[in-house]
Symmetry: C2
Subunit: 238 residues, 2 copies
Amino acid sequence: MHGYGQYCPLARGAEVLGDRWTLLIIREMLHGVTRFNELERYLPGISRSVLAQRLRHLTRMGLIEHQDGAGGQRPEYLLTEAGRDLRPVVDVIGTWGARWAFGDPDPAELDPDLVVTWISRHLAREHLPARRVVVQFDVTGSATRRYWLVIEPDDVSVCMQDPGFGTDAVFRADARTLYRVYLGELTLPEAQRSGRLDLQAAPGMAGQVPTWFAWSRFAPAVREGAARRAVRNGPDPG
Amino acid sequence: MHGYGQYCPLARGAEVLGDRWTLLIIREMLHGVTRFNELERYLPGISRSVLAQRLRHLTRMGLIEHQDGAGGQRPEYLLTEAGRDLRPVVDVIGTWGARWAFGDPDPAELDPDLVVTWISRHLAREHLPARRVVVQFDVTGSATRRYWLVIEPDDVSVCMQDPGFGTDAVFRADARTLYRVYLGELTLPEAQRSGRLDLQAAPGMAGQVPTWFAWSRFAPAVREGAARRAVRNGPDPG
DNA sequence: CAGTATCCGATGCGATACTG
DNA sequence: CAGTATCGCATCGGATACTG
């Protein structure tokens, strides 16, 4: 038995959305991800069979449409209106999670690929120059991983090799700090002052670079949650 | 492995709230239900072990507090601030469910006890007289079940025997109609006109009785969803 | 009333290999 | 690239019985 046996809008919603991984798949699709292997890449830990099963289920439920890859097109999954209307659901659960369920990260959660991808998804277009810029991220740790964000006026990509266009700015921090800054637990100036993050840029540009990044939409709620925990537990030692 | 391995507010929220039955338990607690056996009664189909496991988990996660039944007190589960702050989550998922995932009921979902309880939870206090009123519900079906709502200025109870105070009004309808009216798919006048629901009241009171009921908070969204389905499928035959 | 303990069957899910 | 097929373990969860 899969349903709750109740004729209730909340129960129905939970039946459609409550399966493991489903909300995270929706989150990715709201960010514009449309292809099977891309979804798999952005959801480390999901198995291909579960991803396929979820996509089938969401298609049957009318949340997504599967454009078959006929005629040389690549197959795509697109949100329907019902699917796009889940943005408030994702927002409100994420906001609640940030406020009330967001403690410290487990070390295994600090995937550097993921945080750089997330950062690349929340750029402040209006503050970016009208030309291509390249921002390098050095994520330190047992082995430093290096990424280049290539930000064109209408496209962003994350590379793991130097694209060779020159570099406008370099961030250097460990994964935990980068996550905390992205999520709003730490502001960029705070991270810099504490020595956990170093930002280098050409002299004329150093003031602009921080404005290019919008960070997480949940940052205010994360900060609120962190502040409340600090009050209850005493100031954050680390 | 239980978590998603991501340091993300949405993933954290989903880890806490995503277990089967959890959101429905929260829904009941937001309605003021605090006791173990009451929760079990309002969640037909949940097993005692799962209910206990969920309550333990939610307690550990800080959403509820367990007042131990020491000193002759009855044990109670109470929402903490984190738990009370889930009301927007329940609202937004229920609203989405009403709009996009709310088809016809499965016959097994038409539990008459449940709908009468739900109706009793959404009275329009401001329109009720300042004295006790009794409203009888005859839920027709293979066997008619009869309920009495005893509405006192500061208390409501559902009885399955005539409380003996006299009856101010009598609703008579099958469970499906009662659910549809409660959920807003059908207005009370529509249900009466179609002959699916009969409402009897003392002559001087007939106009007041319908104002006593506020019906479901999701009624507008349910109506919206029903209207959209009607446009796509042609007018509702039943 | 308010749970806990035990059992066992279903299935959820990750891993891997395979296909067009 | 975009999935499907198969396998086998783990755990989820419903039923029932039992306890203070």
